[in-house]
Amino acid sequence: MNRKLLVTGSAILAVFVLAAGVLVATRKPTLHGVVISPAAPAADINLTDSNGQPFSLSSQRGKVVLLYFGYTSCPDDCPATMAKLKLTMGLLGNLTQSVQVLMVTTDPIHDNAAQMKKWMTGFYPTFLGLMGTTDQLQQAYNAYGVTVEDDGDTHSTYLYVIDPKGDLRQTFDGPSMDPQDVADDVQTLLKGY
């Protein structure tokens, strides 16, 4: 009686374990944002960073880049997005070295290097602000489909997620995104998915 139970039970258990194993082996990681499919190379950005150094997006290969467009005297969406990204960094542990948060200014008249550095590092030490001439900035806005109106006061609020290979993978709505989702996706992308 016990032998029959052992054999049948083990067989059923084995089938379940096998099914679980197959499902685990074949599962695909999912991204939580609005996925860009197929992934396209992210347009390069050549600007000046808030340390006064020349900056190009293509120098960030190997890192996940979280790109945002905003300005430092922004009263609502920009600080909300940066605060969420700060929480994201908190969830990433020692992976933070492989993540670069960038904010391209939409208000080149008021955002100078010192102001941007102070504002960005106020959220997290490695956050970087990017500036440039109106032409350079306009080129970046165009490349990412960002609308800037009212001298920068009104702007798109997407967060662009660029993988370590330099491909644009997905966007989040910056102010409303979940830091946990962003952190999970950063980890997924760093694994090479």
Binding site: M1, N2, L5, L6, G9, I12, L13, F16, V17, A19, A20, L23, V24, R27
Partner: protein, 258 residues
């Protein structure tokens, strides 16, 4: 009564418990890593099948013999078993309603519980499973005239039942309330509290039932031949465990990943 040796029946209880524990661990893994509701449902049904057959010995319903003397203990025992299972069936409709309402209101999505809920739930589920294991030993002991084994098994079952209640009411509920899930917060909160509350109430009544059985057992009221109270308390206790197999899956496992 089965014509098998006591040790064989006890070993069978051990084997069943090991399978139940393995399936519970697998369930947890599936919920966290795969999130397939179909696989979770299949595992739950196998667990319930094991409990129905080996711990609740549902096949004993078949032992009803119409040729027996209507006033004999054996005949009345058969009728009592049918009555007990009919009661369990009617009770299932209440639980079934709650179970369905979870999917009706929340679909296959998760309940917005605190992140440590998952581990509290796994712990209390293990406690309840362990209590079923000891209850099985208590009943088998009584069937074979081992009064000491019966008393130890029943006492452990009562203690584990109380531990389960503490886990739900003192640990899990405050944790949920801290996470903003209250009975009146939204549909998910209502579902969570009414499901765990209704189940905990059944555990509570089971503990009372078992305490009375233990007291009477200590007084020597039961014999290997006549112990319907022990058998019915046992079957009721396992039924409460069966309900939790489904509820655990529905509250904590389904939608965990999505």
């Amino acid at each position: 009564m089965e014509h098998t040796s006591k040790s064989e029946v006890l070993n069978q209880g051990v084997v069943v418990f090991i399978f139940l524990a393995a399936l519970t661990a697998l369930e947890f893994f599936v919920a966290i890593e795969i999130g397939s509701p179909v696989l979770l449902a299949m595992i739950a049904f196998v667990k319930v099948g094991l409990i129905f057959y080996y711990y609740m010995h549902i096949y004993r319903l078949n032992l009803q013999d119409e040729n027996l003397d209507r006033h004999s203990y054996q005949y009345k025992l058969g009728s009592s078993r049918i009555g007990l299972w009919l009661f369990l069936l009617s009770d299932s409709f209440i639980f079934g309603g709650l179970f369905i309402s979870r999917f009706n209101l929340l679909g296959l999505g998760p309940l917005p519980l605190a992140s440590d809920s998952q581990y509290i739930a796994l712990t209390i589920t293990s406690v309840l499973l362990l209590s079923s294991f000891f209850m099985n030993r208590a009943e088998v002991s009584m069937e074979h005239g081992d009064r000491k084994g019966f008393i130890i098994g029943t006492s452990l079952t009562i203690l584990l039942g109380l531990a389960f209640l503490v886990g739900v009411v003192v640990v899990e509920w405050p944790s949920a309330i801290n996470a903003g899930v209250t009975p009146s917060s939204n549909a998910a909160g209502a579902v969570f509290f009414v499901m765990t509350g209704m189940h905990a109430f059944h555990v509570f009544t089971g503990v009372i039932f078992l305490s009375i059985v233990l007291r009477n057992g200590l007084r020597g009221l039961y014999s290997p031949e006549k112990h319907w109270a022990v058998e019915s308390a046992t079957v009721y206790w396992h039924f409460v465990d069966v309900v939790w197999v489904f509820f655990y899956s529905a509250i904590y496992l389904i939608g965990k990943l999505t």
